[in-house]
Symmetry: C2
Subunit: 447 residues, 2 copies
């Protein structure tokens, strides 16, 4: 039963997912009271912008936030509490430390939007001065200031964040990147990552298959010790992935999934009725495997907020899941992935078959155009395409198209026949995706 | 029955579709004899490259051809006959004028790949010196030479070709473009074309709602007379659309469709058994309307050649149709369309509903990024999206994605939930396609 005066909704976390949920509820139920509790000084933030702040492309951290607190308060009528840390969740109420004071708020519906944090090294992070974990925009000003002052910078990890930070900082100084796996972008297959690796090695000192075992220093960090080498360092940036912030939810008795993130159903409701979870702290459904997965990315986080907000406000909506679709770049080399790599597909139990092709990204007669390398992974039994990876020129449009086709559960034939436009300065008459599909035909013995 | 020594296949026309069919047959049936008869000096050509030749980006007309004659002869074993005009088709044989001599060739299977030609003006074309119809790369060198010599250039028509030629020539000189409709790119809706029109008017003298009624001149053209004005001209380029070359097929008794192009079934076989038609001379199925349509574009032409070639060689394959997906640009303004505009949708009998939105093409904090205007058209009954048009920055990836989704018969919800990547320098967290879909939700009363 919803009382006449409406419900009180509390949202823990003012990042992309939390603010999207809050906005949606106030749009559909303007009379309801919506409180958002945000630990930091920022709302509507996403860490994806950090590298562009470090490089100086973006001047101020405030610019990384889509909207500011006043916009949400005044224009959308949301009670945004910044510098407010929720310390305990209880049935129907929350305990919050707000500007140093303890306060209690009541709720009828609750949303966990607590996000993720940068994962530290097993050997510890933050325990020595000059070592920072990248995970939230809050730390970004400190990192930028230190990067300006110091010349020996070591980046630990080469996922998206590591690669983009390496790009940002290597324009001004020679930096070292340490990766424990056999190539940067660990979620990619070797065939694509190798193209990046060759180019990246020209710009940074890239060390693969090395594990950091110790950070040495007195007052502050002086040396990074790996299982193979030692590197002098006066700044160490740890970009070793993220992990979900689930402690509050777990302590409240909300069930976590196998991935470690908060388990939700297709309405994004958790194991406790009336309690929802969205964004980087929550699980979602992987559209390819059709199983629960943890996909901490800003685009699905926003949509999860929108869907949970709709459901809370009484407009039923199902969240269909995500593809872990991503784009990045290193200098002018674009890189992207939608769906699964071959190794991920094998791990998920598919009988995966793959092709890797390199072709022109646009008509061969247009000068200056680059190449693109595309890897397409399919299930040999059903012929469904499971994922596409690409690197080189003109990657974004192929990843957009792949994401669209994968979302609609496309087959190899669909990648061949989807009607991609021919426009000489942008695309060749046989699109690289079409060429990859044609090669898969052959490999699968279709034609 | 196929004899042991294989079949003789004759292909009339060596453009994109014809060469794709020939290549496919020789790949699957290397022992068969495949003759291609091409009227001009060029094979594997497509007129889409002409504007880039006129602008000087591409130096030689030969460069516009994907492969040359020797490649097809030596590497693929195809008997390519250039400067060979088929003058009559008879049962089992062809009469050809080859380098001035009449010869007869036998065939067991026949492919019409006769392409399209530039449509003239009702008042006549080519009858006065200094007037050229753009349609084939053959005429391109003449046009370029004349454009260099003359300063008063009038382009008649502002479809893709007219817009691209205007772009190419207006970098060096002030040209006049005359369009009989109310905006350039007649297949687009006014809402998108208006954005182009405003920008185009800064670069060329654009005259809309004007009909050319006379070309005046003595030795050569001197004046273009419309129903409203007169323009001095020493070069008139007519880019008033194309029409299919179907005379040979019609005279042979092959049935034409309502569009005027050659009727084919889903295997691309014509009304006569063993006779196929591909590319710009043939009809195809429109994936949105599911009705026969004429879509004279290079990308489907190539795939039609591939499919017809497969079927002739005995590997059954169905051509699913095309979306009339296109990209173009005018200076740095990108423009694209997949599927139907609203007016096309209404004409096709849909209960069409549309939204037009303008948003950032990438994260707002990345400086220098432009806007994109997206128009999305849907069927209000079924909620299926019927078409997407876009203009501005970052258009290509949205048209690629739209084409992919439309090909898979996507609904408005799919455009909202398809997992497009957030990457600040390339795309905002709420993609313009997602915003357009969300606006359609509202307009359709979904949420």
């Amino acid at each position: 039963m919803i009382p006449d005066e409406g419900l009180r909704v509390a949202i823990i976390g003012g990042g992309a997912g939390g603010m999207a949920a809050a906005s949606r509820i106030k749009k559909l139920r303007p009379e309801w009271v919506v409180d958002v509790f945000e630990k930091t000084n920022y709302v509507s933030h996403a860490p994806c912008g950090i590298p562009f702040y470090l490089s100086g492309i973006v001047e101020s951290v405030d610019d990384l936030c889509a909207y500011d607190v006043n916009y949400f308060r005044e224009r959308r009528g949301i009670n945004v509490h910044i510098n407010s840390e929720v310390v305990e969740v209880r049935d129907g109420e929350l305990e919050v430390v707000e500007k140093g004071e303890r306060r209690v708020y009541e709720w009828d519906r609750l949303v966990f939007a607590t996000g993720a944090r940068g994962r530290g090294l097993d050997i510890g992070c933050h325990r020595v001065d000059g070592v920072v974990c990248v995970g939230s925009i809050e730390e970004a000003p400190l990192v930028r200031e230190m990067a300006r002052k110091h010349s020996r910078v070591v980046v630990v990890g080469s996922g998206y964040m590591g690669v983009e930070i390496a790009d940002a900082l290597s324009r001004e100084k020679r930096i070292t990147v340490i990766e424990q796996g056999s190539h940067p972008l660990p979620s990619y297959d070797q065939e694509i990552a190798e193209v990046l690796m060759r180019f990246m090695s020209q710009k940074v000192d890239l060390r693969i298959n090395e594990q950091v075992i110790e950070l040495r220093g007195n007052e502050r960090v002086e040396k990074v010790v790996t299982d193979k080498n030692e590197y002098r360092a006066d700044l160490v940036i740890v970009a070793a992935g993220v992990e979900p912030n689930v402690e509050l939810a777990r302590d409240f008795g909300v069930r976590l999934g196998k991935t470690g993130a908060i388990e939700v159903d297709e309405h994004l409701e958790t194991s406790r009725k009336g309690v929802y979870a969205v964004g980087d702290c929550a699980e979602t459904r992987n559209v390819i495997t059709e199983k629960p997965d943890w996909i901490p990315l800003a685009a699905p986080a926003n949509k999860m907020g929108y869907v949970a907000g709709s459901n809370i406000a009484g407009n039923e909506m199902i969240f269909p899941g995500a593809l872990r679709c991503q784009l990045t770049s290193f200098y002018d080399m674009e890189i992207g992935k939608a769906g699964l790599s071959e190794k991920e597909a094998l791990r998920a139990g598919f009988d995966a078959v793959s092709v890797t092709i390199t072709s022109r990204s646009r008509a061969s007669y247009i000068p200056g155009g680059g190449n693109i390398t595309v890897r397409m992974v399919a299930d040999s039994e059903s012929r469904r395409v499971l994922g596409v990876q690409a690197i080189g020129s003109g990657v974004a449009k192929r990843i957009y198209a792949s994401s669209a086709l994968l979302y609609k559960k496309a087959y190899v034939e669909d990648f061949f026949f989807a009607d991609f436009p021919f426009y000489p300065p942008k695309s060749p008459v046989w699109d690289p995706l079409v060429i990859a599909a044609r090669n898969l035909f052959r490999k699968m013995g279709i034609s």
